[in-house]
Symmetry: C2
Subunit: 383 residues, 2 copies
């Protein structure tokens, strides 16, 4: 998407494919820093230190990590041992990121089929690039389908702005291009529809205020940052036409685990009769799960993410302490929004209701209750 008028992705190959560049997301929005990754160790560091975050982007970065490992292998003939050891090292960076392991294994499988070192390098680069393009394409399709919803609102209201509300960052920074929840927003904007986005700041890590606001602003989309407390009031007063959020894990019955606070917005949307949509690539479905609240484990993260807030002061990114030093804090990272509060899902195959039957209509091949999507992938990381 656009940054200062130029199209950019959160990761790309350059210098005759000799190195990978990424946007260092830790510094956003106050510092726009491009980081060069020359070796697999640079990639490991970038994932560990969360210069990159978001399931699809972590996967693509990891895939390029394996490519760089092969490109810069210490010996001319790369053995299977070296490859497998390297894969394990990459996978260990964020062990809960299923997407990461999936991407690395996908590149590895291709590389193991290749014979010469040159072939292995070519195959790895190509496989990693394909993963990136597939992620982008899935998001493009989500945008295409979601656009219809925004166009319908526009038709019904005849004049004025379409007001959307989103929570956290399910944007291109996490997804190569378009994003998931933001894909319909970019599609509507690019079609010239007058839109405005209410951006939940999304405590504790403020991915909304820091990343979504930055993305939208750079692309030229009107938006307003609000506290996570404000959405209910806006909905009560007719200031929100549609809510679109992402998801980290989705049950076959339509329950959604997403960034903490999503559930509260879904309750408010229901109470005010406002459509509440979840945008997702089908890879977030966990087909074996039936009851999100009971079955999806909710990660409890470091309480200092609640106690300290990162911001900018006097030319420097700083962390400041909010509550008394002696007060403890709890940091549940996600919550579960029950299907009954969700108007529908926007997927790469189209839109469906958040019901087991309608999900199966769109994904009939999952009807046998198999656990994984065709490519065996799930997303669990959306930080």
């Amino acid at each position: 998407m656009k940054v200062n008028g130029k199209n950019i992705r959160p990761i790309w190959l350059c210098h005759d494919s000799k190195l990978v560049k990424i946007i260092d997301q830790r510094r956003l929005p106050h510092e726009f820093t491009i980081k060069e990754l020359q070796t697999v160790n640079d990639v490991i560091m970038a994932i560990e230190k969360m210069c990159v975050r978001g399931a699809p982007l972590i996967g693509v970065t990891a895939a390029y990590g394996l490519y760089l490992a092969i490109l810069n292998a210490p010996v001319k003939t790369v053995g299977d041992d070296y490859l497998i050891k390297t894969c394990n090292k990459i996978k260990a960076t964020r062990p809960t990121a299923v997407n990461l392991a999936w991407a690395v294994d996908k590149v590895l499988a291709e590389v193991l089929k290749a014979k010469t070192s040159t072939e292995k390098i070519d195959v790895a680069r190509k496989a990693a690039g394909e993963i990136a393009e597939e992620e982008a394409e899935r998001c493009r399709k989500i945008g295409e389908h979601g656009l219809c919803l925004i166009e319908e609102i526009k038709r019904n209201q005849k004049e004025g702005t379409v007001n959307l509300l989103t929570h956290c960052n399910a944007g291109w920074l996490a997804c190569i291009e378009y994003g998931t929840a933001t894909a319909p927003i970019y599609a509507a904007f690019d079609k010239g529809i007058d839109i405005h986005v209410w951006v939940d700041e999304t405590r504790p890590l403020n991915q909304g205020a820091r990343l979504t606001a930055w993305e939208l602003g750079k692309h030229g989309i009107k938006h307003t940052v609000i506290t996570d407390n404000a959405g209910g009031h806006l909905m009560q007063h007719g200031m929100v036409d549609i809510v679109i959020v992402g998801t980290d894990r989705t049950t076959s019955t339509g329950d959604v685990a997403n960034k903490i606070g999503t559930y509260l917005k879904a309750l408010a949307a229901k109470d005010n009769n406002i459509p509440f949509y979840v945008a997702l690539p089908s890879s977030t479905f966990d087909w074996k799960l039936k009851n999100g609240i009971k079955e999806i484990p909710i990660e409890e993260r470091d309480s200092d993410e609640v106690r300290y807030i990162q911001g900018f002061d006097k030319g420097k990114t700083r962390n400041i302490l909010i509550p008394p030093e002696s007060s403890s804090a709890a940091n549940y990272a996600f919550d579960v929004t029950p299907a009954r509060l969700i108007t529908g899902f926007i997927t790469e195959r189209g839109i469906c209701k958040a019901t087991e039957d309608d999900i199966k209509r769109l994904f009939p091949e999952k009807d046998d209750g198999r656990q994984m999507t065709e490519d065996g992938r799930r997303m669990t990381e959306d930080r």
Copy 2:
């Protein structure tokens, strides 16, 4: 309430009643500063700069302001003109604070009856002191009635901790003693009931994380700071037994305007069948109002309160910027929780349902639809 083992109020008279001392609440929780107010101008500054906040405390501070003005009057014989001019100056500090004007006028009415300068000084000091004691007593009674609810939960669960959740700061820092929402909490703690409080940080100004957490911690009450996003998840998982919040303005039909985000917590409580109580002195009823969402105007405050957050770093209280410099923000200070989501009101007269009939049962003298409480007072400030 207790701070470092000593009983303290947010305001008190000292040095032979020659000066007023206050806790400078702007610096909490990281700096505990006592500020001396020697003149009416000191008082005006303290209210304007929000060293004191919360309707009852602002009222008491203003009342002491008039007292200091008379005590330090430039001429020996204080004329009515001087008194009225001074009152207007004090009232202008926060024009929407109805409580402030009410308290100043109450002291003025007493002073105008007095004859000699010495008498005027005595009468003013006494009137201001009475207002303080009345505020404290109202809160004490709220605590007494609310305690019954906590005792009932304790009886039903037999063992373990009673978990409460509160939003913002409706504590003693705003109310001389006990607070409103916190009054039942202090009462239960002092009775030895095992309680734990989930403290919503309450963005944008973080009065929960900064003030409520500080109050509870200083009194020795177990508490955990959470983001405003977290309450719904906690309620889904049985980790909250009761929610108690304050109110800034309450309709005769039971709708409640309170700090932004209260509505979202009420929705979650309802969805999870958890009792949701509002603690209030009856002075917050605006008897002429019937529909909170339509009739209560919601103050929109400076957007920089959303964009910047105050915290502590390297021995200094600082403000840091969160979203991109170019992103705008909206800052609605309150929202309205409809009566249908409220289990009941805890008032100084007892507990009632959030219905017009049950409110009238407790306050039968209001049945004629008169606008004001007996003393003509409402609260609109609870910053």
